[in-house]
Symmetry: C2
Subunit: 489 residues, 2 copies
């Protein structure tokens, strides 16, 4: 047995236990009886302790020092393991356990503060969380940038300077596009009552049409849609609002995109470090291209229009073209998770700048609300009306997720690049999508990207799939073209 | 921190991980996508290895040596831990891992052999399993009886000599009762078509009427009904045969009985060694008294008759009395899991004698089928017609469960004792049951037995609840009275 295979055997068990942890999270959010909450927390804490001990086991350090990569796969596995091991061993156990203890309490405080619209009540928790994550960022960075160190948990090998420069180029064009769109005449929204059972039938058809493999997954209901698991057990959830069926349908397509990446990794990599999506940004590129560039395209909405008429009878919009406009309607709004393709990235940029300043000590918790409100009005053109629509809207910071937000926008940027290349390779795409047939597009994505899992670093994954170095231009050009046409700008 | 509290803190995490293991088993048998099978085996094997390492951790031995019990609860926890630790450390790691590896392969071989009716094909697997479990029994027994040592995994502090003597007293009376019943005129069976949704509605009402707490549990469908989990997350499953609704209804009541024991243990004992049912026999006493002495009573079937008429319309049996007879109809049959109250224990005694002889080296795998068939004809009065109806019918031996079978009959015996005492304390029971109200009976069981979990050893648990030392007479007298009256003997 080589050192490498000894390391991989140990790691394989860790990956298996991590899958169980994910399944427990799925269970808690879908099928768990509500009275089991406290017991479940204790169960998951026990498993987390086992995982933490394995991930910081000193033998990993010795194995990593001695292991040699005999091929590309081994090199990629060692790369992933080295980064994780270094990260995990740099964080003092005391700090890791303080963070684990603080997160659920802080999240509860945030939930209450958001309901009450009381930023001050949340401030003490936020300050503690900022202090601990700053300390963690510094520990991992080891002299480097603490925010970059935290971001690397979600988007490795990407520095925030580059991200900031990209966002700075995008921002004025997106602000201008948003202004133009909101100044133009809005198309009619879809109205009506869409019963849950009908929505779930259409949702299931959508999943099938986007290639979701039900023999290795399932769809359930949850408050917040998510995808969970790797390999042969990748489950998704959706939700239903009987007044607003697009919420259900596009949540489903989005999560099918995430699941396609996990289901699509080559079986050889099952339960190995590279046997999963390489980063949150690349993951989001899959969910976004499924949801937006494919799912919200004029061609595909033509099929969805027919599917909805079949399920629900005549709709409030008269034809497929009006339906396409309704799907892509841009609304004045405050909430990131409800934002359209135009405004979504502006939400992210705002959060990115603020959280980066927080982690670098250039902004303090006390000044966060004002900074948020000022920036929001600059970029969106109207003021925040209440904290629940502003600084208190997202769960992320309450549980310490600093460095996560930019991956949403990186996903959009990557999706823009992938669509450019995909459309060049598939000239008949729109004809296929209009028939509800996504197979050429999803096969292209699997062949070019999904099957490799974490073989390559995030940017390299996108570059290899697209055939060019990713930047923001394909996304911006796609958005400008799509919405200029839709809104006759 | 005392040695005892240190030990209990360690153990609490082990219990929490064991709960996760149970939940993964539930998941695999209810909601898991079928393509996830191989991955799930690997995940569960990884968790099993973690659990095994914790259960044989040498620190437990040191703690147990130094720990002192300050009260009854501590004494009971230490008693449970000492027995488990001694058992686990006496089994060589090599043997434990050989058994773990053999079980799924042997089970698959059994499934195939059963379908093909080919005993010879299963023999090599059975021989290996017998050899390994004999070795394990000897290792645990440390000079004592290997079968008793194995039985103690399911029914601690009970010796097989006593069980054998009890069964020997029961057997002639049960054989005589079976002969008399099958010689008498049989009542009409219930016939008809009972759609799944209706059965599940009645099943849910039954669970509610027997006090199942849905805030700490849920009901799903599975091929074989089971109950799983402890404390605040105790889930049950049932199954539906549209021609035979009693299968669904009495499976549900049976599993609710198991679940009531786990849900009913005092909350103080959550995730401690005594925070669960003390043995399989005592567990079965709860499921059986719910299912049979309460659920199949004339009084309760009166309520069920009305509930079924309400759900399904007029039935093939004309009134509540004919319905009661149909529920308790005794059929000629071969299969333990389909057996009625009269014949069930005869199935168990047959298996007990054979497996005890196998483990003691008094019977070999090659002679098992003939021994089975001879004994079956003696006790049931007709020959086995095919191996799937005989020696190949149960999964137990294929996965090494020698010593488990007697707990089913012990459960029946204990249920008989409990019902005697319960009826003495609750003179109005039948009037309540006829209204579908089991609360006095289930509260009695909780108060007298369930809430104590594993505080007392199995027989002591029953004796304390009943107020007398348990023996087989209450069960035999109950069966003779019930079926003599039903069959006008």
């Amino acid at each position: 047995m080589t050192v490498y295979s000894e390391l991989m055997a140990f790691q394989r068990q860790t990956e298996a236990l991590a899958q169980i942890m994910g399944r427990m999270g799925w269970d808690a959010r879908t099928v768990m009886p509500r009275g089991a909450n406290a017991q479940r927390s204790e169960e998951m804490a026990a498993l987390e302790e086992v995982l933490h001990a394995r991930r910081t086991d000193p033998r990993i350090g010795e194995w990593l020092e001695a292991a040699e990569a005999s091929d590309d796969v081994a090199a990629a596995n060692l790369r992933e393991l080295r980064r994780d091991y270094m990260r995990n061993t740099r964080v003092p156990a005391r700090l890791a356990s303080e963070l684990a203890r603080l997160a659920p309490l802080s999240q509860t405080a945030w939930e209450e503060a958001r309901l009450a619209g009381d930023v001050a009540a949340f401030l003490p928790w936020l300050k503690q969380m900022i202090a601990l994550r700053r300390e963690e960022g510094q520990a991992i960075a080891d002299g480097g940038d603490p925010y970059d160190a935290l971001m690397a948990d979600y988007e490795p090998e990407t520095d925030s300077e580059t991200v900031a420069a990209t966002f700075a180029r995008m921002r004025p064009r997106l602000v201008a596009l948003r202004e133009a769109v909101l100044g133009a005449e809005a198309p009619a929204a879809l109205t009506g009552h869409f019963p849950q059972e009908g929505q779930l039938r259409v949702s299931r058809r959508l999943a099938e049409h986007f290639g979701y493999d039900f023999t290795r997954g399932r769809i359930d209901l949850a408050v917040h849609p998510f995808s969970s698991g790797s390999g042969t057990d990748v489950r998704i959830t959706t939700r239903v609002n009987v007044e607003e069926p697009f919420n259900c349908f596009y949540s489903t397509i989005h999560e099918v995109g995430h699941a396609a990446y996990e289901q699509g990794v080559a079986a050889d990599h099952l339960l190995t470090p590279i046997g999963r999506g390489v980063s949150m940004g690349v993951h989001e590129s899959q969910s976004r291209i499924y949801e937006n560039q494919l799912g919200r395209s004029r061609a595909f909405t033509r099929w969805l229009f027919e599917a909805m008429v079949q399920e629900f009878g005549a709709l409030s919009v008269k034809d497929a073209e009006a339906f396409y406009a309704a799907v892509n309607r841009v609304n004045r709004g405050y909430i990131r998770t409800e934002a359209d393709e135009v405004q979504y990235n502006l939400h992210i940029m705002l959060r990115f700048d603020l959280e980066r300043a927080l982690m670098r000590g250039q902004l303090e918790a006390e000044d966060l609300e004002e900074a948020w409100n000022t920036r929001f009005e600059q970029d969106f053109g109207y003021p925040v009306d209440q904290p629940a629509h502003g600084v208190l809207q997202d769960v992320h910071w309450s549980v310490g997720l600093f460095g996560y937000f930019p991956t949403y926008a990186l996903g959009n940027i990557y999706a823009g690049c992938l669509q450019k290349s995909l459309r060049a390779d598939l000239p008949d795409l729109d004809a296929q999508l209009a028939e509800g047939d996504t197979s050429a597009a999803t096969s292209w994505l699997n062949e070019k990207l999904q099957r490799f899992g974490a073989m390559r670093a995030p940017r390299a994954t996108i570059a290899a799939a697209c055939g060019f170095e990713p930047d923001e231009l394909p996304l911006i050009e796609y958005l400008e073209a799509k919405f200029s046409e839709l809104y006759r700008l």
